[in-house]
Amino acid sequence: MTGLPSILAGVFAYAAVVLTMGSYSAWAGGIALSLLMIPVVMLTAEEAIKMVPQAMKDAALGMGCTPSQSMVKVVLPVAMPGIITGVVLAVARAAGETAPLLFTALFSEYWLQVNHPTASLAVLIYNYSGMPFENQIELAWTASLVLVLMVLVLNIVSRIIGRRKHV
């Protein structure tokens, strides 16, 4: 699933959400992006859960935890920094996606509305960079910088969260 072309996620969300709801919307864009995020989040979460030592899981069972209690009380708290790291990285990746939004959230010159076409930085860059006016091209460059900085900040945050573990 990690290799899924992002444009296909957009096409899927177009068929599943835009056609059924009858309009482009932020919802559809969100669903398309979350489809792209799921494999990344799943892989990192699986790794983080596998990293929890078997000895600790044995201890939980030995104390009389049911398997689900062991998961909730012992395994997840230990794995949480790793899981959150994965989520933050996936958000950072999704923030830069353009293709899936072209069929779903589309674009709007106005303020955010979840049930209507909505602007996103990535699509804004795409649209404005093709415009003939110097102004809009400069805006596209600025938006690129903002996007890069956001992704950088998210990456730094994920590093900080990932470092806090005691295993």
Partner: protein, 275 residues
């Protein structure tokens, strides 16, 4: 979850005198898949005594111990033929929930394995799991004192349990196990990952623990069994049928077993002729 009747507080076990059999483990056959790991091992565990399990590697002593609180259920292919009598019932009975067995029979593992949470929360874990409604702080202190760890950690109860030394971690695990006051405490080579000083502390602790609990311990170390155990069970490996099947050779009060073993095999093992 709390369905099995094991947890009753007025259980007849409290009326038993020290030395009575509280838990009678009759392991006729223990399989992992097609592999017969243990056969014909009958180990009675006596109240307020330490029962030591000794024997060469792969003789099934840990397998028998872990069968007592059904820790092996999680291993794929595990099958237990036999009975473990506890509180007048068989803990392998279909009606018995393994989770409640484990809440009544505590376990300390080979590797110290505290949870990645504060020292206090480690000890309070079992109490919270059992929805204990009384004064948790008092119980935690009592368990930590019981595990001879209180003085070392009383000023840093909020620190992570994993920040302690190996020996302290193992005592923390003992405190965690005794916080819920289990009737039987199983220890699977609790000192094998520890240095000699920490080992001595744990051994002294075990002798104190038997005043209030019933302890069964697997050990690699014959001297350790000699120092702490009241009863000792000697297991060996039978390779006659192709596999490596462990079985109980002899069980007796420790002094008898070491000074006057009835079986030739026991004698050879104790004299260090094989290990």
């Amino acid at each position: 979850m709390d369905t099995a009747p094991l947890a009753t507080s007025d259980a007849p076990i409290d009326d038993m005198a020290p030395g009575d059999v509280v838990l009678d483990c009759q392991a006729d056959q223990i399989h992992y898949g097609d592999f017969l790991a243990v056969r014909d091992s009958h180990v009675p565990i006596r109240k307020n005594q330490i029962t030591g399990f000794i024997g060469p590697s792969g003789c099934g002593k840990s397998t028998v111990l872990k069968s007592i609180n059904r820790m092996n259920d999680l291993i794929r292919g595990f099958r237990f033929n036999g009975q473990v009598h506890f509180h007048g019932m068989d803990i392998y009975d279909k009606k018995v929930d393994p989770v409640s067995v484990r809440r009544n029979i505590g376990m300390v593992f080979q590797q110290p394995n505290p949870f990645s949470m504060s020292i206090y929360e480690n000890v309070a874990f079992g109490l919270r799991l059992n929805r204990f409604r009384g004064n948790i702080a008092k119980k935690v202190e009592k368990a930590l004192r019981g595990a001879a760890l209180w003085d070392e950690v009383k000023n840093k109860l909020k620190n992570n349990g994993l920040s302690l030394s190996g020996g302290q971690q193992q005592r923390l695990c003992i405190a965690r196990a005794i916080a819920t006051e289990p009737q039987v405490l199983l220890m699977d080579e609790p000192c094998s990952a520890l240095d000699p000083i920490a080992t001595r502390q744990i051994e002294e602790l075990m002798v104190q623990l038997k005043e209030r609990y019933t302890v069964a311990i697997v050990t690699h170390n014959m001297q350790q069994a000699q120092r702490v155990a009241d009863q000792t069970a000697f297991f060996a490996v039978d390779i006659s049928k192709g596999g490596r099947t462990g079985y109980l050779v002899e069980m007796a009060p420790t002094a008898h077993l070491f000074e006057n073993p009835k079986q030739k095999l026991t004698k050879e093992y104790l004299q260090g002729e094989f290990s």
